[in-house]
């Protein structure tokens, strides 16, 4: 009982830190940088560009809660983009034949199928064969990246009327603003954003109120006691990886919707960004601690700091990398201090 209570309060503490930091950063940007940050669309742009990352980070949060890891999500996203792109725009593989374009609905199934396959295989290897998750997903990432270039080497943009319609952002006119040339710029939100937010909501309830969600925390917190509680540890691990794989598939499709092209270099580094956002969102790699809402704010914080850096006149690309890393470093140190203090106070109580 006691450990469980501690975990939940850890979760809320780390979550609140993240949320406060995000709002502090955003408001700071509004005050000191003004210009773009005062517009609602800047926020939507952050969401549009990072909807896929939100989904992948959610998957990572799940596996990190059970104390595992998956670094293949970026590769899966690239593979999904390429396979869907090749399917939707068949003329790329058979130039000059003018084939009918592929069906958008089927392409979604392809994305889900790839995600599912990844989840099944990796989940089985990790949960039932007890192989290090890092190595399994490392190989998974290698495989996905290599496979992407085998499917098609050159990057290309998809020509498919139905798909191009789907990827158009939703225009919200009443949230739009008038720029200095006097034109009304409507607010634009991509469909992927709605998908991502919906899934965040569902996962939030699953983790919080369902038996499955609670067993995730139990397995990540302490395997032996989870076993004693009658939880099937292997099955729980398997399910977490399965869900992560499916989320990577969906995330890949959302990414594909955002960029509208297939390329082997797509979503490169996405796995690291996803892990970083999960950590900033208060998930701990030791397992047992984590929150989906935190992950959402983790992604937003990461994206916000990137856009602050680029609009603050630090025009060289390297500043983004350095600030993101600095932020990650800060959060990791805060986490470890928080945990150390908690442990001390627990000891005192005892």
């Amino acid at each position: 009982m006691k450990t469980k209570k501690r975990n939940i309060s850890d979760t809320t503490l780390l979550l609140t830190i993240t949320i406060v930091v995000f709002f502090a950063m955003y408001i700071g940007a509004m005050i000191f940088q003004g210009k773009g940050f005062l517009k609602l669309q800047t926020f939507f742009n952050i969401l549009n560009a990072n909807a896929a990352l939100i989904l992948m980070a959610c998957g990572l949060t799940l596996v990190m809660i059970i104390g595992s890891i998956d670094i293949s999500v970026g590769g899966v996203a690239a593979l999904v983009s390429m396979c869907c792109a090749v399917y939707l725009d068949r003329n790329v593989l058979n130039p000059g034949e003018n084939l009918t374009p592929g069906n958008v609905f089927v392409s979604m199934l392809i994305a889900l199928g790839i995600g599912l396959a990844y989840g099944l295989v990796q989940g089985y290897l990790i949960a039932y064969l007890d192989i290090q998750p890092f190595i399994v997903s490392l190989a998974g990432m290698f495989f996905a990246r290599g496979m992407t270039t085998i499917v098609h080497t050159n990057p290309f943009n998809v020509e498919n009327p139905a798909f191009n319609e789907l990827k158009e952002p939703v225009r919200v006119y009443f949230l739009g603003t008038v720029n200095k040339k006097g034109n009304l710029v409507p607010a634009k939100i991509e469909i992927g954003v709605f998908v991502a937010l919906l899934i965040v909501l569902v996962l939030f309830f699953v983790l919080r109120y369902s038996k499955l969600g609670r067993s995730f925390y139990a397995v990540g917190g302490n395997k032996t006691s989870a076993l004693m509680l009658g939880i099937n540890v292997k099955k729980t691990k398997f399910l977490a990886h399965l869900m992560c794989g499916i989320l990577a598939g969906i995330g890949g499709y959302v990414y594909f919707l955002h960029v509208g092209s297939g390329a082997a270099s797509h979503a490169s580094g996405a796995e690291m960004n996803a892990i970083a956002s999960s950590i900033i969102g208060g998930t701990m790699l030791t397992g047992g601690v984590g929150n989906i809402i935190g992950t959402l704010f983790g992604v937003l914080s990461l994206a916000t700091i990137q856009s602050i850096v680029s609009s603050a006149g630090f025009d060289q690309a390297w500043w983004t990398g350095i600030t993101v890393a600095a932020m990650l470093c800060l959060f990791l140190v805060v986490q470890s201090i928080v945990i150390a203090r908690k442990k001390k106070s627990l000891k005192k109580q005892a």
């Binding site: 773009g36 005062l38 800047t42």
Partner: protein, 358 residues
């Protein structure tokens, strides 16, 4: 207990910050007039550069930065996309949000720009494309394009080679040539490859293979290494930029070959493009590279003149090609004819190196 207090504080902070952010968002239109820091006479230009992969690119960036300065009445917002189209799309969207006057785009690929360019058009911001071209359904999505005719560059260099071979009595079927391509899908690669393929089949050269060198020295070294393993009859290497050529020369020399124009005596001829990299130009003077097709990166002044025209209400030309030279180290071929036009060949020597502009 302290947790409770903590939570309360947090909830207060949160609600305050939420209110602030809402307040900050809604009156954006009104707050505009006051919050605009830049006075009207400063022209804000957003430049989305695709990366910093080669010397050509760095020179291009520098040229833009040196023209769009505060002294000249401009504010330049520069974004390096690190070779990713998504970063460029994000950058253009942020330019639109930050109310820039002009957007300059050096696109990483040719396709996939319709959505974001139409957003810029909706906002009434003119877009000037530099270097690589874009393929859009509607030409009015961008104002104009400034850059090089890459296919012509390729043809010019090939023409020079064929003239040179003819003069030195090299049989076309004895020309075993490989193409080290640039980043696949980029305008420069497409153009230079197209020019190469066209001329190679026209003159009946033996095209051994195409390999991708990504415009970088390291990738080109890797590619050349693989080529030498598999084909030992290669005697001409067509590199699609200088950085590739430098890598290729290193591999060739390390494997015991000599780089030079005299392929009859077993030398390996290397031709290249750009003419920015001083090391490459000195290799040309030293005879390791036989011919370089110039690709001029100094687009800053050209883009500025387009903006001046636009401000004075004039219509600039839609496609603005830059006149470019052919550099070589011997006067074996004084000029070439292509498409009914004569192009002079510039012979470089030691003294040119000291004044090389880059």
């Amino acid at each position: 207990m302290s947790d409770f207090l903590f939570r309360k504080i947090i909830s207060i902070i949160l609600s305050v910050s939420l209110l602030c952010s809402l307040a900050g968002c809604t009156p954006a239109g009104d707050a505009e007039a006051e919050s605009v820091v830049t006075p009207d006479d400063i022209i804000v230009v957003g430049f989305s550069q695709l990366g910093a992969e080669s010397d050509w690119r760095s020179a291009n960036t520098e040229s833009m930065k040196s023209v769009f300065t505060k002294e000249n009445g401009y504010e330049l917002i520069f974004e390096d996309a690190q070779q990713k189209q998504t970063n460029q799309i994000t950058a253009i969207r942020s330019f639109i949000q930050r109310d820039v006057d002009y957007i300059v785009l050096a696109p990483v690929t040719e396709t996939g720009w319709d959505t974001v360019l139409s957003e810029a058009k909706e906002a009434g911001i003119p877009v000037i494309i530099v270097d690589r071209q874009v393929e859009v359904s509607d030409d009015s999505l961008f104002t104009c394009w400034v850059g090089s005719d890459f296919e012509l560059e390729g043809r010019k260099v090939c023409m020079w080679m064929s003239k040179y071979f003819a003069k030195n009595g090299v049989n076309p079927s004895d020309v075993h040539i490989v193409d080290i391509q640039g980043t696949l899908g980029s305008t420069a690669q497409i153009g230079r490859t197209k020019g190469f393929d066209h001329m190679a089949s026209l003159y009946g050269w033996d095209v051994v293979t195409h390999e991708v060198g990504d415009f970088t020295k390291s990738k080109a070294k890797e590619a050349m290494f693989a080529i030498l393993r598999n084909y030992d009859n290669v005697n001409v290497v067509y590199c699609e930029n200088d950085n590739e050529a430098l890598g290729v020369i290193e591999v060739l020399e390390a494997s015991g070959r000599k780089c030079g124009s005299n392929i009859k005596d077993g030398e390996t001829m290397v031709v290249s493009f750009d003419g920015i990299n001083k090391q490459a130009v000195s290799s040309l003077v030293a005879g390791q590279i036989s011919c370089i097709g110039e690709c001029n990166p100094l687009h800053g002044p050209r883009v500025e003149s387009v903006i001046r025209k636009l401000r004075s209400g004039q219509e600039p030309y839609k496609y603005q090609y830059v006149n470019e030279k052919i550099y070589t180290n011997s006067n074996a071929v004084p000029s070439i004819m292509l498409g009914g036009k004569e192009y002079g060949v510039t012979v470089l020597n030691e003294s040119d190196l000291y004044e090389w502009p880059y």
